[in-house]
Symmetry: D2
Amino acid sequence: MSERSTRADYAAFQHITTRWRDNDVYRHVNNVVYYSFFDTAVNRMLIKAGVLDIENSPAIGLVVETQCRYFAPLTFPDDVYAGVRVARIGRSSVRYEIGLFRNDDQDACAEGHFVHVYVDRVTTRPVPIPDDTRSFPESLLRPGSNAL
Amino acid sequence: MSERSTRADYAAFQHITTRWRDNDVYRHVNNVVYYSFFDTAVNRMLIKAGVLDIENSPAIGLVVETQCRYFAPLTFPDDVYAGVRVARIGRSSVRYEIGLFRNDDQDACAEGHFVHVYVDRVTTRPVPIPDDTRSFPESLLRPGSNAL
Amino acid sequence: MSERSTRADYAAFQHITTRWRDNDVYRHVNNVVYYSFFDTAVNRMLIKAGVLDIENSPAIGLVVETQCRYFAPLTFPDDVYAGVRVARIGRSSVRYEIGLFRNDDQDACAEGHFVHVYVDRVTTRPVPIPDDTRSFPESLLRPGSNAL
Amino acid sequence: MSERSTRADYAAFQHITTRWRDNDVYRHVNNVVYYSFFDTAVNRMLIKAGVLDIENSPAIGLVVETQCRYFAPLTFPDDVYAGVRVARIGRSSVRYEIGLFRNDDQDACAEGHFVHVYVDRVTTRPVPIPDDTRSFPESLLRPGSNAL
């Protein structure tokens, strides 16, 4: 992720609408909110793919690391398109990379990643990614990525 | 607003996407977030109509009162459609009424209002609604409403 | 609540710190955030009093109505002191009234209420306020309030 | 930052109260919120030190990169103590490192950083850190850090 990506670098996209309150005193979307876009894009995809049931899934993905680099501002009422790809799938963990695109822009205005570790919902101990879940992040692997 | 409204009771609609973080520990969109939907719907309309320039408008609308009644839950990743109408336009103030609709539902899952008072951006003293702004809330007046 | 209250009008107080992101483009705490202060003050008191266990309480309080009137701005990094009192206790519901005080101010900068209806956690049907919970809102009744 | 820090690793602390809405569906503070704690701790210190005036400072710090690693959960109504230190000061940029501590815990529950680049408020072009501002991050340099 050493250079700014374009839409072509991502496997799937999610549309997110900005909110009045996303803008901070400097009149652009606050840096914190970008992580809410990351969370929203990935979890919405997991839910729509049927591999996350918030109430009942015995294994859930906890976030253990996140990062974001900011290239250009977003401003309410912009539309955001979150591009998602998977960089690495381990025994218990998935590394998602996300690029945020403003309206029709082709270059990402921000890029980052977050790492999900699957844990038992009750004990919060790491567990293998459930078999029926694994195919979802696999479908988002970008060329050159490694699934262990 | 003594009964639950339907989409037919609103003059214009804004689409808003829910976010992972909108859900609270009870796994539905938290009551606070509904007000963010209100703010977002009205201000997005004002900006798109060209009557609010966040950086430069000499008169801005400050919120002096808000209210919401909650009928049925919203849950991420639901889509929200915010219906907006204007109930009253005074010399300096506008009362917006908002109904929130979940996905394809015809009955509002929540309804509320907020009152904008136009103030001078620098002094924060009330000022008359600017002439070029007034036509916007007028366009959202519902039948039977009173514009002073 | 037709006039602006003072600290003397409230039964108990909770300290809340403001956040950078609370300020919106107009450089004051956004109207939405006040409701987060309401939620925080009441639920923190319920948890600390031992009458709300987020994970396990069989009956939980759902918010069915909220309102706020705004008198004077709050601005990050202000400290907020939320005064809480109970105006009415019904069979299943409690009406909390909250006044927000800025730093050392004696007059409320905002006042509002929210109504909790106790429901069965699983069915979400209204249930009587649990006996061991009821004493908590009773302790916050202001003079002249009615507990049914 | 390859190991979990303790309070002794930080130069100054800021107290932050958690909010009801910080907890997400998994009943712990959502990963996004940690960045709001970072923003709040650093900006509050800048304002209280008199080196940031939100309305008037001609040079402002824009966030160009943030990161967080999560070790243990925070849960409303926990208190958070944000430890802050400065790892590097460049011509225009400051790298802040933040450790979050839960209640009386001595080990950080999360650690991260964010990088401020000072820009001209109007042009948003990078500018040297103003002379009267520079002494503030310098006061937070940890032993072994490099100020260019």
